[in-house]
């Protein structure tokens, strides 16, 4: 038997085995089916992709298509029980019809429902209850973004993906941190939202994986029913239609946008999975030109790093880094690398105290990698490590404080960014 024959035979056998494994690993709707029943609403979540002070997208999933899906909402603390009439003068209550559809991808059928709430009151807690045919969810609540200049905090992280146990632990930690943040009198540690840098699952077209992520994400909901709004970015594993269906983006949306959390914090979410140059770069330039002048803090988040701790930079390095430096972005949040990092301030490819700092790179559940700490931008005062983590970003009047919090509660890294722009906007 000659060598080439052996090679062909081995390759054929390997391909057959790997193909079977591939099918098994990627076609597993069983778990998803177990968590959803009939038209019982599940996977309740809130997304911010427009003005957080006055809008929010409330979403849920059902196993069956059903025929009528609505959202009841009211300002939290409305008098009476859920059957009471909205007759107090300052109570705002309503019912909204949902936009519904079927998650695309996979053999099993599951359905999403979105309600886009508008004209909400800023800094207000809204209770929501999802109704699908005769079934309904418990009452949850979320808080709209502020319209006045106040200190607050934001959670940032990426790469939930594999590692379900760790993913759940991180989610539970988030729920605890959010709850604790509102249990004291310090407004600056109030966690208002969760900016996710992408890679929620392994294969973006696999609905079963998305449904499992959504089930795990329910663990970020507090025991009192508080939901933390998500500001989502798309990752390289989030390809396909389900990403837009999960977060309520229109079909075909480019998934780059910006939101103001309060009048002084502009949070720009980019999409590293489409062309970085071209239209997106032009949009970044015009968006940041306008935002920098009007906001104390200007941040960006996206998935693939341009100053990575383990991988090679994405092509966006050539286009986005100059734009970030041109507009003096305060902080950039990256993911994809599966480790912890904070770069030195960077400008023109060198360390520069006036430069841009990049943090990351995805520790919400995926196994963590050893970073390449010999890269120049990770030297002190920068840092790099491997651990499951989230970043808590606290926005104050004169400084932005960033903390990297590990699963055991340890603060692995803490840094501050001083105000660049003296713009102060009166309330």
């Amino acid at each position: 038997m000659n060598l080439s024959h052996c090679i062909f035979k081995s390759l054929w056998r390997s391909t057959a085995v790997l193909s079977v494994l591939y099918v098994i690993l990627n076609c597993s709707p069983l778990f998803a089916a177990m968590t959803l029943k009939g038209t019982q609403p599940a996977h309740c979540r809130v997304t911010w992709t427009d003005d957080p002070a006055t809008t929010a997208t409330v979403s849920w999933s059902t196993r069956d298509a059903g025929s009528k899906h609505t959202l009841r909402f009211r300002i939290k603390g409305a008098a009476g029980d859920e059957n009471a009439q909205a007759d107090e003068g300052n109570v705002i209550e309503g019912t909204a019809m949902a936009e519904s559809g079927r998650y695309t991808g996979g053999q099993a059928e599951f359905y999403y429902h979105h309600v886009r709430l508008t004209d909400l009151k800023p800094s207000t807690q809204y209770e929501v209850q999802m109704h699908s045919d005769g079934d309904h969810s418990p009452w949850f609540y979320f808080e709209t973004g502020p319209d006045h200049d106040r200190p607050f905090s934001l959670i940032n992280g990426g790469d939930s993906r594999t590692g379900h146990k760790d993913r759940l632990r991180v989610n539970e930690m988030i729920a605890t941190m959010v709850s604790d943040s509102f249990a004291n009198d310090d407004p600056s540690d109030d966690i208002l939202a969760f900016a996710h840098g992408g890679d929620y699952i392994v294969k973006g077209s696999n609905v079963a994986q998305w449904l499992r992520w959504l089930s795990d994400h329910e663990s970020t909901t507090g025991k009192d029913g508080r939901m933390l709004p998500i500001i989502p970015a798309r990752g390289n594993h989030d390809r396909g239609k389900p990403f837009n269906q999960v977060f309520g983006f229109p079909d075909g949306d480019k998934n780059y946008y910006a939101v103001n959390i309060g009048p002084q914090v502009r949070f720009v979410t980019l999409n590293s999975e489409i062309s970085a140059a071209g239209d997106q770069a032009k949009w970044i330039d015009s968006e940041m030109l306008a935002s920098r002048a009007e906001n104390r803090w200007l941040l960006a988040q996206y998935h693939r790093p341009i100053y990575p701790a383990v991988k090679a930079p994405s092509s966006a390095l050539k286009v986005w880094a100059p734009l970030f430096e041109k507009h003096d972005v305060d902080l950039v949040c990256e993911a994809d690398g599966h480790n912890v990092k904070r770069t030195v301030p960077i400008r023109n490819g060198k360390q520069d105290p006036t430069g841009v700092v990049y943090i990351g790179e995805g520790g919400l559940g995926v196994p963590q990698r050893t970073p390449k700490t010999d890269r120049w931008y990770l030297q002190s005062p920068g840092m790099a490590d491997k651990a499951h983590h989230i970043f808590v970003l606290t926005f104050q009047e004169d400084q932005l404080i960033g903390k990297c919090v590990l699963l055991d509660g340890t603060v692995r890294d803490e840094f501050t960014r001083q105000v660049r722009s003296p713009v102060l906007v009166a309330n």
């Binding site: 060598l3 081995s10 390997s14 391909t15 390289n236 032009k282 092509s315 050539k318």
Partner: protein, 296 residues
């Protein structure tokens, strides 16, 4: 008695079929292509400014939860192995110890084929953008060394069949790679758009915008699909030559867009133009095989 085949006719079917060095040219070209590809692999994982691990590492560590150090060591073995294998296959064989050296080179080429195939499979499993097309997109990278394994056999009696099989493999591999790239171009794959946009920004300065690059990609995609079909027909030399040119251009675009440090990405794509080059050489000349010709 040497085995002979009746090759496709040359330009003048009445002329006697000449002795042709084509099998040596094919062999030499394949050696160089595989060597360059191996330098690209080693460069990506060892020499580049931002060295990175392969999808095999990613599959083992992230998807299969192997210890990081073991996944890293396997990756190191693959990268080093490719580098050594690339050098081994390039070494010209000497008459003395001919068969043993050829066997060693076959093992080396087989290693490269297996490693590149494994990377393609791992990429498919990892579920990124267009991951399910990896086997087809990267087929030239493992087809080229596989072809070398076949051609380097010491069994003289099977030369005609082996040559035929080699060309068939390379033809189908070239078609598959171009077809997948064409599909991705039609889907306006973001990185493809950036290659054009960044190349323009870095020097050409035509002021190409998003709309224009999407139109360009659409045209490229259509052309790629057309040539992928045409190359499957016999002796499409002009098509093969076009594919050599286009494969070189797209491989080089990694450097024109991302700079000289991206050279491993250019070299690792050597088979993109190398496989159609082999076909172009084969279609250029009429040939015959003999026990002497392959072993010069």
């Amino acid at each position: 008695m040497s085995s002979k085949i009746q090759p496709p006719l040359g330009p003048n079917s009445d002329s006697p079929i000449p002795e042709s060095p084509i099998p040596n040219k094919l062999l030499t070209a394949l050696r160089v292509i595989v060597f360059l590809q191996c330098i690209g692999v080693a460069g990506r994982y060892w020499f580049a400014e931002f060295e990175i691990e392969s999808d095999i590492y990613g599959l083992l560590f992230f998807e299969w939860s192997w210890p990081e150090t073991i996944a890293q060591r396997i990756d190191d073995i693959g990268a080093i192995g490719c580098l050594v294998a690339g050098i081994v296959v390039l070494v010209p064989t000497l008459r003395l110890g001919w068969d043993r050296i050829r066997q060693l080179q076959r093992v080396a080429a087989g290693f490269v084929a297996a490693w590149m195939f494994s990377i393609a499979i791992a990429h498919m499993f990892r579920g990124g953008v267009f991951a399910e097309l990896s086997l087809g997109e990267h087929v030239v990278r493992y087809a080229a060394p596989m072809a070398l394994v076949i051609l380097l056999s010491v069994k003289k009696s099977t030369e005609p069949v082996r040559l035929w099989v080699t060309l068939l493999i390379l033809k189908m591999a070239t078609a598959a790679t171009f077809a997948v790239h064409g599909y991705k171009a039609l889907k306006i794959h973001g990185p493809f758009a950036d290659l054009v946009l960044l190349t323009d920004l870095n020097g050409a300065n035509f002021g190409i915008g998003q709309a224009t690059v999407e139109q360009i990609l659409w045209i490229i995609g259509i052309v790629d699909l057309i040539v992928a079909v045409l190359i499957l027909f016999p002796r499409m030399r002009a098509v093969a030559i076009y594919m050599v040119f286009w494969g070189m251009l797209t491989a080089a675009s990694r450097m024109t867009a991302l700079g000289v440090p991206a050279y491993p990405e250019t070299l690792i794509r050597s088979a993109n133009w190398g496989c159609p080059l082999i076909l172009a050489i084969a279609y250029q000349f009429s040939y015959k095989t003999s026990s002497d010709t392959l072993h010069k």
